[in-house]
């Protein structure tokens, strides 16, 4: 997605008020943006705390401010700067974290970002965008850029099956239809289930949905998804994020407050904080029970 991100931001760079800050990351990806922005492309160095507060200072003067790092460095160390300086003042700083979830899997636990959106959505005025496919990036950058509030953009890599016709971006998209359980996935992980689901007979095939914008109070569930959830044999939420503060909690609160009931709720989530062996994103997904085979076992139980 980095190329698509760069292309989308280059398309925005004609704005004279745009400023892009990076924490010394983006080599072999962001050079075209650096070239077109000139002095408005600022490598703030290996100093994420300062970078976030500088971003707040820039945004308070009505500049269009984007901040880039890899996802784990984007929110954890500078959390207080994001909270005090950006979120408390409701400044429209756009935080971009590349490699959300297990994106930097075998790089080790310091490079996993599996509590990122839960942490950030605890802050006032914050919203989160999680593009599913590479083709989403133009729309996501346009929507992110239009926000007058702080935004976190969690980037991964698009993983559609070969030859898949990616549907036009929307905050909610249904990717497969059937008479089976409802499966709601946060972000690119959804792409890894499409091919298997499409091969399943109609009577068992899940209704696969992907959500790309959080929290739910800003991005309500489609009415047909609510209806499917009430009628289906079960509902499974899958996210490359820890259990606490994740999307599933928000969804169940949303349902509980509205009297929406579902049968056989299941939650599959990231567990790597408890692992002592590491591997690729695929390895860690499988170890967390997020791979398609593990999902099928879970769905078989409902």
């Amino acid at each position: 997605m980095r190329k698509q991100l760069c292309d989308a931001l280059v398309g925005r760079a004609a704005r004279s008020d745009m400023v892009f800050l990076t924490g010394d990351l983006g080599f072999m990806a962001l050079e075209p943006l650096q070239q077109i922005l000139g002095q408005r492309f600022i490598n703030a160095g290996v100093a994420e705390q300062n970078m976030m507060s500088v971003a707040a200072g820039l945004a308070a003067q009505d500049l269009d401010v984007w901040v880039y790092s890899i996802a784990p460095f984007c929110y954890a160390r500078p959390f207080e700067q994001i909270r005090n300086d950006i979120a408390f003042h409701d400044l429209p700083v756009k935080l971009i974290g590349n490699g959300g979830g297990y994106g930097y899997g075998v790089m080790g636990p310091t490079h996993h970002a599996i509590e990122d959106y839960g942490v950030l959505l605890s802050l006032p005025n914050m919203s989160v965008f999680i593009p599913t496919f590479d083709q989403d990036m133009d729309a996501v950058i346009a929507r992110t850029g239009a926000s007058r509030h702080p935004v976190y953009l969690r980037m991964g890599r698009g993983e559609p099956p070969k030859g898949y016709a990616v549907p036009v971006y929307a905050p909610w998209r249904q990717l497969t239809e059937g008479d089976g359980p409802v499966v709601i996935v946060v972000g690119p992980l959804a792409g890894t289930y499409i091919e298997t689901f499409e091969r399943m007979p109609q009577e068992f095939r899940p209704n696969l949905w992907v959500v790309a914008e959080l929290p739910l109070e800003l991005n309500p569930l489609p009415t047909n998804l609510i209806a499917q959830s009430e009628q289906a044999s079960g509902l499974c939420v899958i996210e490359e994020h820890v259990r606490h503060g994740g999307f599933a909690s928000d969804l169940l609160l949303h349902f509980a407050e509205r009297g929406i009931t579902v049968r056989n709720f299941r939650h599959l989530y990231a567990r790597a904080h408890h692992f002592d062996r590491y591997g690729s994103q695929s390895y860690l997904r499988k170890a967390s029970g997020l791979d398609v085979d593990s999902l099928l076992v879970t769905l078989g139980g409902i």
């Binding site: 400023v19 300062n50 507060s53 200072g57 820039l58 003067q61 300086d85 408390f88 003042h89």
Partner: protein
């Protein structure tokens, strides 16, 4: 107002008050920004803003009470002359650097003043800000350091071996001045000329300045005044 509200942090307010009064009364223009990084000196900032008519008597009386605009540290909203909520140390210099950079990118001649504490230089983020501001050659930014030698639970030299701070700063590419932070003329002179570098002005100050039993006493970082202490302090200040 600290006595009325039963709140402390008086020592670091008194060490900062002289520079605040000069900066707001004599230096800042309409477009300029001031950022109080040592947010625990909020009382001195509120009093200074009151003295130039930017905070009302009624608001000042509500300092540190329920339903106040004026919390114990600078608020995020409600006071136009306070651009950022501060109080967690190590934020203000970076916020000031971002503001100064914004002014430069917008081709504005506006200036930024930031006041840090000396203990605050134990925060890594303050050094990140120094490196950034120097690299960006933010000559429209002046950083004052209220060097009163005392912090919350010891002297700055007892807690971290960096004192005097100006010796640590000499290796950086800044315009470094060390002045008496209670000498109005010295403060005026330090701001009187333009510079091509980031300007860092170390204010040699006295914690609890102006009240003999508070001066250079660490406990006045936190303690509120008793009735007797309040009366003695007022009598001393009136007599001077």
């Amino acid at each position: 107002m600290h006595f009325d509200s039963g709140v402390g942090h008086i020592g670091g307010n008194l060490s900062a008050l002289d520079v605040l009064l000069i900066v707001f009364h004599e230096y800042l223009g309409f477009e300029d920004k001031f950022i109080l990084s040592k947010g625990h000196a909020a009382g001195a900032l509120y009093t200074t803003l009151w003295s130039i008519g930017r905070i009302s008597d009624a608001d000042l009386r509500l300092f540190h009470r329920d339903n106040t605009l004026l919390a114990g540290h600078p608020p995020a909203k409600g006071i136009a002359d306070i651009p950022f909520a501060t109080g967690s140390l190590g934020h203000g210099f970076s916020l000031a650097a971002g503001t100064a950079l914004a002014f430069r990118l917008k081709h504005s001649s506006a200036r930024v003043i930031c006041l840090t504490s000396d203990g605050e230089w134990q925060e890594g983020s303050t050094w990140e800000a120094l490196i950034f501001a120097i690299h960006q050659r933010l000559s429209n930014l002046t950083v004052f350091i209220d060097h009163n030698n005392l912090q919350g639970f010891g002297s700055t030299s007892d807690v971290a071996s960096m004192s005097p701070l100006w010796d640590r700063l000499r290796g950086f590419d800044v315009e470094l001045l060390v002045i008496d932070g209670h000498d109005p003329d010295a403060i005026r002179d330090s701001l009187a000329h333009d510079t091509q570098q980031l300007r860092v002005i170390v204010l040699r100050t006295i914690k609890g300045r102006g009240v003999s039993f508070m001066e250079n006493r660490m406990e006045w970082h936190y303690l509120p005044l008793s009735e007797d202490q309040f009366q003695r302090a007022v009598a001393e200040i009136d007599a001077s």
